[in-house]
Amino acid sequence: MADKNGFFDLSKTTLSRRTALKGIAAGAGLALAPGFVRYSQAQSSAPIRIGFQSHRTGIGAAYGRWYEKTSAAAVKAINDAGGIGGRKVELVIEDDGTDPARGAEVVNKFAKQHKTDIVFGTLFSHVVIGSAPAAGENKIPYFVVSEGHHVASTKLNRYVFQPGITDVKSQIQSMAPWIAANAGKKVTQIFPDFAFGYDHRDYLPPALKAQGADVIAQIAIPPTESSFTKYFPQIPAETEVIYHVMVGPAVLTFVKELGEFYGSQRPQLFGFMDSLEATDINSPGLEFLDGSHFWEGSPRYAQPDDSAAQKAYRAAVGIDDNGAAVGDPKDVSTASHMFGCWETLYVVKKAMEDAGYKGPEDRAKLVEATEALKEFAEGPEHPQGPKTFNGKIHQCFGIQNISKVEGGKLKVVHKTKIEDGLYEPEGDYTKQAL
C-alpha cells in the first residue's frame, strides 16, 4: 500500500553502491567493535578468577564454611587495596562434598568450564590427593590449605602448592622440644587408626628421640570406635605425657571417658587443636582438659600480645576475642587452620605479580614464580607469623603455638621457631616438566 506522503515509498530513495558499501563497512565495524573492546578489556582489567574447591558438604563442612568466610575476607581486602596487578579478584566456588572423586571433577570443572586461573582452598588430605592428578593434567596451579604432608612428600605433581600453612610433619617435629622439656620424657600416643593418626605415629617418635624423650606406647583406635575405656588400661603406668590426636564427633566421649578413667590424678595431656576445631572448649565433658596443652596453628583466643596485623585479620574475618563468629558465640571458628586461606591468597597475589600474570597462558610462569619465593614476612598479609618457603617441595614452614587451657580459654604459652620444624627435603618438584 502506497503512502500518500511517500514516507514508505522506497522508489524515491537513492542508494548508490558507494553509500551501500560505506554502510556495510560501518555496520561491520559497529558489530565488531563491542567484541573488540571486550577482548582488549579481558587482557587488561577482567577479574582474576580463583576456583575455590570448598568442603560445603560432607565431613569437612565445618571447616569449609570458615574457609569460605576467611577467603571472602581476604579477597575483599585484596580488592580494596587494588586487586592483583590492578585486576580485581573473583572467587568461583564449587562444593566437592569432601569427596576425592568429586574433588577431581571440580578441578576439571574449574579448568575447563569455569576457566578459572587457578584452583585453591582444599583442606582434607584425601580430597587433595584425589584432585592432584586432575590439576597436573589440566596444568592448572592448585594451591591447597591442607596441612597434610602430601605436598611436601613430592608424591603429587609440580602444579600443587601449599604456601600458606605448615605441614603436619613439621608441626609435630616442632612440638617435640617443648614436650620433652616441659611435659615429660615418657610419652604415650593415642591416635585414630587412619592416615591423620599415622602422621603423628610416624613423625613424633624420632622427633622426641632427638630431644632425649621416648614414645613408650602407641595406641591406635579404629575409626569405627565410639567408646574408648577399654583402650585406657593399655596406657603404661609410667606414662608422663598422653599425646592425643583423636578427631571427629567421638572426641567429646574420648575426653569424658579419659577423665573418668584418671580422675584428678592424670599424666600431662598434650593434643592437637584439630581435635576441637569448630568446637567450644567449654562444651560439657571437656572440663578434664583444663590445664592441658594444645598445638594451635593460629591462636583461637585473642592474646594480650597480638600484633596489629593479627587484630586486623581477626576483625576482617569476623571472629571475636573467643574465636567465635562476631554476634554468634556458639559459631566457633577453625582458627588453627583457616588463616592459611588468607595467607595463601596473598602468596598467590605476590606470585602472580612477580610472574606478570596475564591469563591461563601464563600458568607455567606462575608455577615458576611461586617456586622462586623464599620468605614471607609477618604482617597484614601473613598475620599468623613469618614463614619460609621451599620451592623444591612447594611447602612453607612457619612458627607454631603451644597453648594451655586455663579458665575455659586457650592461652599461648610458647611459640616455636621456624627452624624447629625444618627437615630434609624428600624430593624436588622443580625437576618435573611443566
Binding site: T57, G97, P100, R102, E105, Q113, H126, G130, P133
Partner: protein, 320 residues
C-alpha cells in the same frame, strides 16, 4: 520381554556406542571428561546389574569388587612399576578371584542374608585397605603418576591423561562390556539366570545347577566391576579407600534402579542421570543431595522400573 530380531537389538546397541563415539568430537572439554568418567563407572553399574537385575541377587558389597580392580591395577603400577595393560589384567584378575571366593561363601545364603553377608565382606575389605595403609595409602590414597599412565603398543604410545585417549579408552571398555553383557543376556546362560531370578526351585527341578550358574554370574559380575575399578585407577590416576566404602556399594544399586534393572542400557542411563543431576544442582545449592533424593523418590513413585524399564514396559517391549 518380547523377542526382537537380533539385528534390531544389536543395531540399537551399536548405535548407542556410535553416538558416544561421535559425542567425543562435539562435547565441550569439561563434559568430554565427565562422560569418560561416567562411561567408566557405567561399567561398574553394568557389572552390578548382571547380578542384581538378571539373577535377582541384591549385593550390598560390590564396592569390594570395584576396589579389588582399583587396587589390583593401581598398586601393581605404584609399587611394582607394571605397565598399564598388565596392571589392568591384574585388576580384573583380582576382582574375579575375589568374586569366586566371596561367591562360594555368600551364595550359601540368599535374600536379606545375602545382602548382609556381602556388606560384611565389603566392610572387611574396606578395613583391610585401611589396615595395610603402608601399601594402600589408607584413607588418603595414592596418586598414580602421569608418566606411569602411558600405554605403548608397537611403536605408538598413548597417554591416558590425554582427554581424547582417555575418552576413547573408557568408550572401548564400555562398548566391550555392553556387548558382552548383551551377549550374556541373550545366551542360554543368561536365560537360565533370569529363570533363577523368577523361580529358582523350578529351575533346579528342570535340571539346572543353580548354584554353579549363580557362582558364574557372581564371578562375571565381580570381574566386570573390577574392570571398571582398574580402568578408573589408570584413567584418573587416584586410588583411595573411599572407593571401598559402603557408599560405593550403594551407588551402583542407585544407578541401576534409576536406569532400569535388567535392562542392558539402564546402567548407563542411570549413571548419566545421577551424575548430571548432581553436577547441575550443586551449582545452585549445597542441598543438592536433597534434590537427588527427591528425584529418586519421584522415580520410584512414577517409574518404579527405572527409566529404561519404564520405556520397555510402555513403548519398546523388545528392549533387552
Amino acid at each position: 520381554m518380547r523377542d526382537a530380531s537380533p539385528a534390531k537389538t544389536y543395531a540399537l546397541h551399536i548405535g548407542v556406542i556410535a553416538l558416544l563415539f561421535a559425542l567425543n568430537f562435539v562435547l565441550p572439554d569439561y563434559h568430554q571428561g565427565l562422560f569418560a568418567r561416567i562411561m567408566a563407572l557405567a561399567v561398574f553399574a553394568m557389572g552390578y546389574n548382571l547380578l542384581f537385575g538378571y539373577v535377582g541377587l541384591l549385593s550390598l558389597g560390590h564396592a569390594m569388587f570395584f576396589s579389588a580392580g582399583l587396587y589390583g591395577a593401581g598398586l601393581t603400577v605404584y609399587h611394582l612399576g607394571w605397565g598399564v595393560p598388565e596392571a589392568f589384567v591384574a585388576g580384573v584378575a583380582c576382582g574375579a578371584l575375589l568374586a569366586l571366593v566371596i561367591g562360594l561363601l555368600a551364595l550359601r545364603t540368599s535374600g536379606v542374608a545375602f545382602m548382609i553377608v556381602t556388606m560384611m565382606f565389603a566392610q572387611v575389605f574396606y578395613l583391610l585397605v585401611l589396615y595395610f595403609a603402608a601399601w594402600t595409602g589408607g584413607d588418603q590414597g595414592l596418586v598414580i603418576q602421569q608418566a606411569s599412565r602411558v600405554v605403548s603398543i608397537g611403536g605408538a604410545s598413548f597417554d591416558l591423561t590425554d582427554p581424547t585417549v582417555r575418552y576413547m579408552s573408557a568408550l572401548a571398555l564400555f562398548a566391550i562390556v555392553l556387548l558382552v553383557t548383551l551377549a550374556i543376556v541373550r545366551s542360554r546362560f543368561g536365560r537360565v539366570l533370569v529363570a533363577i531370578r523368577e523361580n529358582e526351585e523350578r529351575t533346579k527341578m528342570l535340571g539346572y545347577d543353580t548354584v554353579a550358574n549363580k557362582l558364574a554370574a557372581v564371578v562375571a559380575s565381580g570381574a566386570i566391576c573390577a574392570a571398571s575399578g582398574a580402568a578408573y585407577a589408570l584413567l584418573f590416576g587416584y586410588v583411595g579407600s573411599n572407593f571401598a566404602s559402603i557408599q560405593y556399594s550403594i551407588l551402583p544399586l542407585l544407578w541401576v534402579l534409576l536406569g532400569g534393572a535388567a535392562t542392558t542400557l539402564g546402567p548407563l542411563i542411570g549413571t548419566l542421570f545421577m551424575y548430571y543431576v548432581t553436577d547441575i544442582t550443586s551449582g545452585f545449592t549445597s542441598a543438592y543431595l536433597l534434590i537427588v533424593g527427591v528425584a529418586l523418590i519421584l522415580l520410584v513413585l512414577f517409574a518404579p522400573k527405572g527409566i529404561m524399564g519404564s520405556i520397555r514396559e510402555r513403548w519398546l517391549g523388545w528392549l533387552p
